[in-house]
């Protein structure tokens, strides 16, 4: 602006007007070029939005029967890796959304084996601590990370009592279209939300059933007629770190 003013005295008026007009058109053109794809993207993004959100009347949950879970069997882990496009690597920096834990009681020597993943708490500490709200709980109780607003601070990993979350430490390849992930963001078990929303059961549950163990029961904890609700009502089940009173969606029986 200053440059225009100072040079204006030496230029004829029509030239100034012409330049101003040109600048105006150029600015509009650049703005158009920059904005158009964004506007188009908004359309595309909105077109892909599912109608209606998660059902608040539902509380998805799992009941894991440790007496049916076989030591050494990792079918659920493999199914999770395949379904979600994880490498299956077990180095300290690899993502592991579900893992098998072998337990040996010190006093009695009793051994047990069971899978541990995100416990989908009703009061999730990861959601409490997340500064941007990227960690969130769906209305149906599934705890997720919004990959678009996760800044990768890892505070949720510090806060999770179950060590259920992994940080993506390196560039990703071979991602699954249904399971978006991102380098520099935090991720964890989604309870196979993309399958659940289609009325299917999570991959780990299916794999365990296929292997003949049926150690993981999936269903709606809020529906008194569901198998899981009946089992939870009838038999003793436990939550991991019950002392924290987080009301987990994943329950354990048999230990």
């Amino acid at each position: 602006m200053t440059a225009n003013r100072s040079s204006g005295h030496t230029q004829p008026a029509h030239e100034r007007k012409g330049r101003r007009g040109f600048l105006g058109i150029a600015a509009a053109g650049v703005a158009g070029i920059l904005l158009a794809p964004g506007v188009r993207l908004i359309e595309i993004a909105q077109a892909g939005q599912p109608k209606g959100g998660a059902n608040p009347g539902v509380r998805w949950g799992m009941l894991i029967d440790s007496t049916a879970c076989s030591s050494g069997c990792t079918d659920c882990v493999k199914a999770c890796n395949t379904e979600n496009g994880l490498t299956g690597g077990q180095s300290a920096t690899d993502s592991q959304w579900i893992r098998k834990i072998e337990i040996k009681e010190v006093r009695t020597g009793k051994t047990q084996s069971l899978p541990v993943m995100c416990q989908h708490c009703a009061e999730p500490p990861c959601v409490d601590v997340c500064p941007t709200g990227a960690s969130f709980k769906r209305a149906d109780g599934i705890v997720l990370v919004d990959k678009h607003i996760c800044i990768g601070c890892r505070y949720c990993m510090m806060a999770c009592p179950y060590k259920a979350r992994s940080f993506v430490h390196e560039p990703l390849t071979g991602q699954k279209p249904d399971v978006p992930r991102g380098k520099g963001t935090v991720e964890g078990c989604t309870m196979c939300v993309h399958r659940v929303d289609k009325g299917e059961m999570p991959a780990c549950v299916l794999a365990c059933k296929t292997a003949g163990h049926s150690a993981i029961l999936f269903g709606d904890l809020n529906d008194p007629k569901s198998d899981i609700a009946k089992r939870v009502a009838q038999y003793a089940s436990r939550q991991l770190r019950e002392d924290l009173n987080l009301n987990t969606g994943v329950r354990y029986a048999g230990f």
Binding site: I151, M157, G184
Partner: protein, 415 residues
């Protein structure tokens, strides 16, 4: 009561005029380290955190040690300003601007490290626009920016002619804010219910005590080095007094550390963790006893405990440096050691898994992490060095001559 004449009237302030070769040598060194830090960030950004020593078990590493130390020290660096403007120690007024400048420099250095260690530092704008107000991290974003604003306002009232009457008000606001800030920093850990090392309201007052100690040490070190740099006179009694305060602050921090461990030792469920940290935690036990307790607390207390310490500049300098070293040791033990001890999912059982359950987690910081942390430290150093050279934030002299010539009150117990 506190509305004393403006600072400029009471003590002439003067830019630092150090030996050019040493000064530009220092600037060059700091700039080179900062450049290496930028290089490390680019490297980490390109390859991901795989090039750091951090992993899914030790999720916060060396950069956090640097960042949290700097942020905690930033709050404490305001000690002298608070004493001058809030607690009526008028003889410290000429040192209040330096106090404010150090505070800002330390905070900015720390925040840069914290930001650049994020998985997605490019999403800073998201961190500034999306808030979950149940998150202490989100509060901290406001606490940090508010702190910068208040300290800048405080410095302005001090350095602008005619604004002196607002200094006590700005000083009080900055003092209250820094207490909130460090309470917030401590609560980042205190609010972590999952981990045995944290999950304690004690973390907040512990961090406040630590901030008093670290900030005082940084202040003393910079003051002595700067005054030495252009042979600026400063009263021995004043320094003795600050040294005594440093001893009290170290003792206060030690007290909270003691209570923290005693509390844990009382609870049977924490015995394993305490045993790990205090007895058989390897590097963490060593850093705790030697770094944090011996070199960072006991030794500087002994060094500063003598009456005439104000006249012993070298001793003051080294004692302050030891407190800073001890601060880094403490942050390393708290942040890394706290994560190294495994989470207890099944009490009374031994557990194994492919995800390091039930084992002590291993961590060794990589070169990029060191460079990022040291880069942040260098940014702090650069801000301090440039400000001291370009702006009159230090009094031309603060010795008997100054006390005689101006309306400044001489310290009561000056030796």
């Amino acid at each position: 009561m506190l509305a004393t004449p403006s600072l400029i009237m009471t003590a002439p302030m003067r830019q630092l005029s150090p030996d050019a070769r040493s000064y530009y040598g220092l600037l060059g060194l700091l700039a080179v380290i900062a450049l290496f830090g930028i290089g490390a960030v680019a490297y980490m950004e390109h390859h991901g955190h795989i090039v750091t020593g951090m992993n899914n078990q030790i999720v916060w590493g060396l950069p956090h040690v640097f960042a949290v130390f700097l942020v905690v020290a930033a709050s404490g660096a305001l000690n002298v300003a608070s004493m001058a403007s809030v607690f009526g120690k008028t003889e410290l007024k000429p040192l209040a601007p330096l106090s404010g400048v150090l505070s800002l420099a330390l905070l900015l250095g720390g925040l840069i490290v914290l930001l650049l260690d994020l998985g997605r530092p490019d999403r800073l704008i998201i961190a500034m626009t999306h808030f979950n107000f149940k998150s202490i991290f989100a509060w901290n974003i406001f606490l940090y920016s508010g702190f910068v604003g208040l300290v800048v306002a405080y410095l302005w009232t001090q350095m602008e002619v005619g604004m002196g009457r607002y200094t006590p008000m700005a000083g009080m606001a900055a003092f209250l804010w820094r207490m909130a800030l460090t309470t917030g920093t401590g609560s980042i850990f205190g609010f972590l219910v999952a981990r045995q090392a944290y999950d304690s309201a004690l973390m907040a007052p512990l961090f406040v005590a630590l901030s008093l100690s670290y900030g005082m040490a940084v202040f003393l070190l910079v003051l002595i080095v700067s005054c030495n740099a252009d042979s600026r006179a400063i009263d021995d009694g004043l320094l003795s007094r600050m040294a005594r305060l440093q001893v009290i602050f170290i003792a206060a921090a030690l007290y909270f550390v003691l209570v923290y461990h005693l509390t844990n030792l009382y609870f049977t469920k924490h015995h394993g963790f305490e045993r790990f940290l205090l007895l058989d935690g390897g590097i963490y036990t060593l850093i705790f006893w030697v770094g944090q307790i011996l070199l960072g607390s006991v030794l500087p207390m002994l060094m500063l405990g003598t009456k005439d310490v104000g006249g012993r500049r070298s001793r003051l300098k080294w004692a302050s440096a030891l407190v800073i070293l001890g601060g880094f040791a403490q942050m390393y033990v708290t942040i890394i050691g706290g994560q190294a001890y495994p989470l207890i999912l099944f009490p009374g059982s031994q557990i194994t898994s492919s995800f390091s359950d039930g084992v002590i987690n291993l961590y060794s910081p990589s070169l990029p992490e060191w460079l990022l942390g040291l880069g942040g430290l260098s940014v702090t150093g650069l801000i301090i060095a440039l400000t001291l050279k370009l702006l009159p934030v230090l009094p031309a002299r603060l010795d008997e001559h100054a006390f005689r010539d101006t309306s400044l009150k001489r310290p009561e117990n000056a030796s």
